[in-house]
Every structure is written in structure tokens, then in C-alpha cells.
Symmetry: C2
Subunit: 413 residues, 2 copies
């Protein structure tokens, strides 16, 4: 008889549904749609020639090593490079503290796998990165949501939640934070908040997972120390990635963790996929080892900074006066809040008719709020298209401002 | 205060310990040890030049695609290639039925993730692949173990277990089988058993996960149809890999599944790591697309076949008369059973002193039996070293045959 898969699937799969982002990216792959939806770097800056030469080097000097099974921890010279470079940002670590992962996304999966029993609580910013929620949902997480303001996570609110959970005997397993140019809001946590968060978390014995894909994409102002750099108790696990420094296609990220956490993360990495591919680690090491990244980042910062300016000017011009939006100092995203009666999932349907796409913000809210919010990407769209895209989006919004009753229409994305 | 990680880890981590294989591979990385322990292909056959040229092609023709985020399903031309090639082996599938994974190991992880609730039972051959047990252990699996004989899994015993479970209302979630040159035993399931297993599993509505990394490494005799080729009900999920066809270093495998299973597997792949790296998929496609694999396999079969012969002759000469071992028609492993009073974990300590290593067989037995068994790899060791390695191993065994009381020594590997 035909297999009845539905009655075989594990309970956790009930929370592993196709994401908004995934489905939207399908629609927006149509050529004539201006997509502000993705979270993609600008491909015109990818160091294609450098990687071509790096793979030549790999196969001319160490082909058999590149093609054979490798260590679960990662390619040793790449781990040493990451450890050394992290030191420049005040993160004290050695190669032994680095686990190479298949992008940050696998880091999120491994953290969920090792720390979350069904029903365990993760403290997250509201809103927070959708891909993290999807990773933790696999392990049937619950969420304690902490509001944000222009200085990032409201640490006073986080502390009240920690105190309440502590008294009730329930457990917040870890705090997930994106201090730099957060996905989706573009907001950056202030130095005072960083210090306060590290102190409070350590006091309650609750570790922090610091996700920092965009930290080096700063267009203006001074860099702030990472939570990991402020940590004295081995209480912060740091996640970095080459996806925004060089290119995302290889899926290369890393975790920095103290040895007692690292041991168990490694025991989770091994049954997950044995190890991350060798050739791409070796080639990435070859591209990065002599300081290429620092010069390359100058190009990225300049281009993304220009695009942010274009997007902000266009929003100023085309969005209604009662809309609000962030003005990020780096990263890839602007976040907008529209009047509360506008549901951005419905707005997306109109927008696609106008041939422009964005990500509705509700998916970034584990509590189901944020129906009037949206994430706008500027890194992957040339300036003329950014202007035109925001103009079209403004027109779609304006129609909703003028006729709010349309929000009664059924939604299907 | 310093973080107390031990009290934070999820319950599932209690069963995610460092593996025998992992620890042994560390010891045997010492240069003067002849290692029959690994499960590694022969690196001298890796198509290094082909991959060098393939990466040139990738970065000269499609660098930006290779470096950008890609689809979670995998690189479309590679999926089409795999679907077409599968058809040659009687597996009817289209590109849509193929999910590219980071090696078979990620396939095992995704199956565990989507099908196993804590305490669910997986039916496995006894012995079975250690990496599969490690993958399923992450999801707190229990095991129903089915004995094997020279024709592979005893399907009559499997049917009795299925009937008993069915009556007791408990669930066997799926059957994990390695029909070709099984890891660790090298045994191949007969055609009658294959047909019977597919029929019985379908009758009880229990799917089969068919793991087939070695199917094409046949040195003699006629190929047998895969379980998936015999399946009419979409009840078999098939796992293939490029690790033994080309090279394992990229971590490239695939799942073949019917659409209703595929949808949920894809929802598990996405939060696990978004997608498998693009450049390595594109390069592998370029190497494989024009029939390279078929010619390349001739070299692999010839070399591994010679090494198998050398190993079997040496075993015949040096192992005690009451030892038994398999004579595989393909793959990478010979399996040996020593007299019951010999504990192969203890034997390994003596063997390492003799500068030869193997994998003790107990880890392949989820019921903790098999203390007198061992897995011997012949694919990764040149013939002269194979002869010398087995000679040394025979000497270590002979010492135990002569002095069985030494088995009272404490074990620590």
C-alpha cells in the first residue's frame, strides 16, 4: 500500500513549515520583479578571480587532502586564521575554540540540537532573525521576546524576564542576540546595553548566542566590542561567517565557544555531516590568509553605504508620513513600520502586482505580532532599481492608506 | 560566574558521545601505524586534475552563481544528472525527487530529524553502520535488531519483529538497510531477500531507508536491483553519495524520495544549513556529466578488488583457525569474528603496540553485543602494507588465543 508519510513524521516537523522568505523568493525570482526581499550580498563584488586562483592552488598543491575526508573541527589553518583575526576584535580564542560550520545556519542548528529540549525557552529580540527561529523551532523551542528600541535589545526588560523565569523555576536556556545591524531591523546595540546584557546573562547563568554576520559591514561610526569580547566567563558563544565577508555560496561559518561547550558541539557536528567540505575551506583560507578581506570590505562598505543612502532618500520621498523606519549604520537591511491597519502580507500581494517585493515582518516575531512591519534589503539591488522599487512600493502603500477596508480580503501567500 | 554547561545541555546530548571511530582515527593518524580502521577511499585514485579543470570552468563561466546563495534542493543540473543516472539502475525518479545533502551523513540526520520522536524504534541490521546509529541516537532512537547471515538481513526475523510490534501497538518508524557490501560486514543482500523485504515493509506500512554508498563498487558477479528499484509504493527512501564514486572531501550525497516525504525533508534541510555549497555541486556536475564516472569506476573496482584479494589471503594465512570472516564481492570492508573470549577493544590496545589498527565491532551493535568482532578496511591501504598489517594483527590475536586470561585487564580506548 502507498506509504502514509503524514502519520510517520516526528512531532517536531509540525513546526518545520516552508518559510515566508522561501516562498517569496520563488515569486521574486521572476526577472521583472525588483526584489527588496532577499538577504543576498551584491554578487558584482564577489572575488571570483581570487577564488579561481585559490582552487588552482588547492588542486595543484594539495588535491588529495582537499578530496579526502577531513576533520570534524574544520581545516586547521582556517581555524587558526579565524582565531587570529578574532583576536583583532578583542575575542580571545585559539584554533581549538573554533568549529567550522556550513554557514551560520548550521551553527544555529547545532546550538538548538545541543541545548534545546522540547518546550525549552530561548530569549530573543523582537523582531529577530527568521532563520534562527526556524532552526530553534526544529527543537520545539518556546520564546521569551524582548522588545527593542533604537539602542537594540531592551536589557532592562530582558533582566525582568530572567528574574521572573528564575523565580518560577522555569528555564531560559540561552539568549539569542544580533548586536550589529540586526536582521531584520538594521539596529545596533549600544555599548552600555552590551555591557549590561553580558553582566545580566552571566549573573543568571544563562549563556548568550551572539550572531554576528554583519559586524564588519559598518558604513559609519566606530565599531563596538562584541558581546564575546566583553565576556569574562565563557558565557558567550559567538557565530561568524564568510558569507558577507567573501561569499555565501560555499556555506562557511564558524562558532567560537569555550572548551566544555565545544566538546558537545563537536559531538553534534559529527553525526550531522561528519565535517564541512575541505576544498572550500582550503580555498577560502587561501583567499583570506594575506589580508585580502580588509581591502575587500572597503569596497563592500562603500557600495552598501551608497545603496542604503539611496533607499533612505527614496523612502523619505515615497512612504506615507505616518510610516517609521530605521537608519542603519551598516549591514543590509532597513526595517519599516506602517500604520497599524496595514497588513504587510496583504500589501505584498499588491506589491507583486507593482513588480516589487519585500519580506512582511510578522515572520520575524515569534509572538505573531508585527503585522504592519516589513524588511527591505538594499545590498542586492542597484541604485536605480532601489529608487524605482521604493517608488512602486510607496504607491502600493498609498493605495492601502487611502482604502483601508481592503484589509478584509483573505490572505494567501 | 563561569557557565555550567553540563546542566544546560539537552537530554539528547547524553547519547551523542565521541565515537570509537573518531578516537581511533586520532591514534592511527600516527605515521608508522598501518590503519585498517578508517573507511576512506584510496586517495591515489582521486580525480584531482578533473576537479582542477572543473573549478576553472565554474569560475570562468558562472562564478557569481557559484558564490551566491543557492536553492535548498540543490543545483538543478546535478539533480537532473543524478535522476537520469539513477534511471539506469532501475530507480524511476525525476530531478524533483532528488535532494542534495552534505554527504550521506546529512541524509541520515535529516531522516532522523523528520521521522524520529524520542523513543521511536528503528529496525537495523546487526551489525549496522555506526554513523547511522550516531545520527539516529541524536533523536533518541531505540533499535530493533535483525540478525544477518551470508545473504544479508534475515527478512523472516524482520517480519516477526514487525508483526510483534504491530500487535503491541508500538511503532517501528522505519527500516534502515545497506543491501550492497554493507558497512561493516561487506555482505550483500540476496535478490530474494530484497524482494521479500520490500514486500513486507510495504505490507506493514513501514518505510525503508536504503543506504547505498558502495553499490557500484562491485568487483565480481552481477549487480542486483536496489530496494528502491523494486519499490512500487514510494515506500523506500534511497541514499546515494559521490564520496565513493569521485571523492568524499566535498561532502556531496543525495536522497531520492517521493514528493510527500521530500517536502518535509526539504523543510528540515533549510533550517539545518540553508543549502549545500554551490561551487562543489557545479564542479562535481562538470566532472560527472559526460560519463567520467563509469570509466573511473573501472579503476576503483580493479584496485579495491586486488586489495580485497590480498587481505583475504593474508587473513587466511595469519588468523587463527577458529576465526571467521566475510568474503565481500565489493565495497571496502572485511568483517571478522574471533573466538568469543577475545574482546576486540582489548585486542586493539595490543594491536596499536604492534603498529596496526582496526575498528572493534561492538560499536556497530546497538544491543552491545559483538565484542569479539572487528571491521577491516582494505580500500585505503597499499597491498604490501595490507599483508604486513594483517600479519601483525594475526600476531596480536595469536597472543590472546594463547593467553585468554589477559582479557581481565581494564579497557580504555
Amino acid at each position: 500500500m502507498p506509504t502514509d508519510w503524514q502519520q510517520l513524521f516526528a512531532e517536531r516537523t509540525a513546526r518545520m513549515r516552508a518559510s515566508d522568505i522561501r516562498e517569496i523568493l520563488k515569486v521574486t525570482a521572476q526577472r521583472d520583479i525588483i526584489s527588496l526581499a532577499g538577504g543576498l550580498p551584491a554578487p558584482e563584488l564577489f572575488p571570483v578571480d581570487e577564488f579561481r586562483r585559490a582552487f588552482e592552488w588547492v588542486f595543484e598543491t594539495a588535491g588529495a587532502t582537499a578530496l579526502q575526508y577531513g576533520p570534524s573541527e574544520g581545516y586547521r589553518p582556517l581555524r587558526e586564521f579565524v582565531a587570529q583575526r578574532s583576536g583583532k576584535f578583542g575575542i580571545r580564542c585559539a584554533a581549538e575554540d573554533i568549529l567550522v560550520t556550513n554557514g551560520s545556519q548550521q551553527g544555529l542548528d547545532l546550538i538548538g540540537k545541543t541545548l534545546l529540549d522540547p518546550g525549552d525557552t530561548v530569549m530573543v529580540e523582537k523582531p529577530t532573525y527568521l532563520g534562527a527561529l526556524q532552526a530553534f523551532n526544529q527543537y520545539q523551542a518556546k520564546y521569551a521576546v524582548v522588545p527593542m528600541d533604537e539602542e537594540g535589545m531592551r536589557v532592562d526588560a530582558a533582566e525582568r524576564l530572567l528574574a521572573a523565569q528564575h523565580q518560577s523555576g522555569r528555564r531560559i536556556k540561552f539568549i539569542y542576540a544580533l548586536p550589529n545591524f540586526q536582521n531584520p531591523t538594521g539596529r545596533t546595540m549600544s555599548l552600555d546595553r552590551r555591557k549590561a546584557l553580558v553582566e545580566v546573562a552571566s549573573r543568571y547563568g544563562v549563556p548568550i548566542l551572539e550572531d554576528d554576520p554583519y559586524g564588519e559591514l559598518r558604513f559609519e561610526g566606530e565599531p563596538l566590542p562584541s558581546l564575546k569580547a566583553l565576556d569574562r566567563d565563557g558565557n558567550v558563544i559567538y557565530m561568524g561567517t564568510f558569507s558577507k565577508l567573501l561569499a555565501p555560496g560555499f556555506r562557511l561559518g564558524w562558532l567560537v565557544a569555550s572548551q566544555d561547550a565545544m566538546e558537545v558541539l563537536l559531538h553534534a557536528k559529527q553525526p550531522s555531516d561528519l565535517h564541512t567540505g575541505m576544498a572550500q575551506q582550503m580555498a577560502t583560507y587561501h583567499v583570506a590568509k594575506d589580508g585580502f578581506i580588509d581591502g575587500h570590505l572597503e569596497h563592500i562598505r562603500r557600495l552598501y553605504g551608497e545603496r542604503r543612502d539611496v533607499m533612505l532618500r527614496a523612502i523619505e520621498e515615497h512612504f506615507p508620513s505616518d510610516a517609521r523606519w530605521t537608519r542603519p549604520s551598516g549591514g543590509m537591511f532597513v526595517w519599516a513600520e506602517l500604520p497599524e491597519y496595514i497588513d504587510t502580507r496583504e500589501l505584498l500581494l499588491d506589491s507583486v502586482k507593482e513588480r516589487v517585493a519585500f519580506v512582511p515582518g510578522q515572520g520575524f516575531h515569534p509572538d505573531g505580532t508585527g503585522t504592519n512591519t516589513m524588511r527591505l534589503n538594499f545590498s542586492n539591488v542597484p541604485s536605480d532599481q532601489l529608487r524605482e522599487g521604493i517608488r512602486r512600493l510607496g504607491r502600493a502603500i498609498q493605495q492601502r492608506v487611502e482604502s483601508p477596508t481592503r484589509s478584509e480580503r483573505p490572505v494567501s501567500i
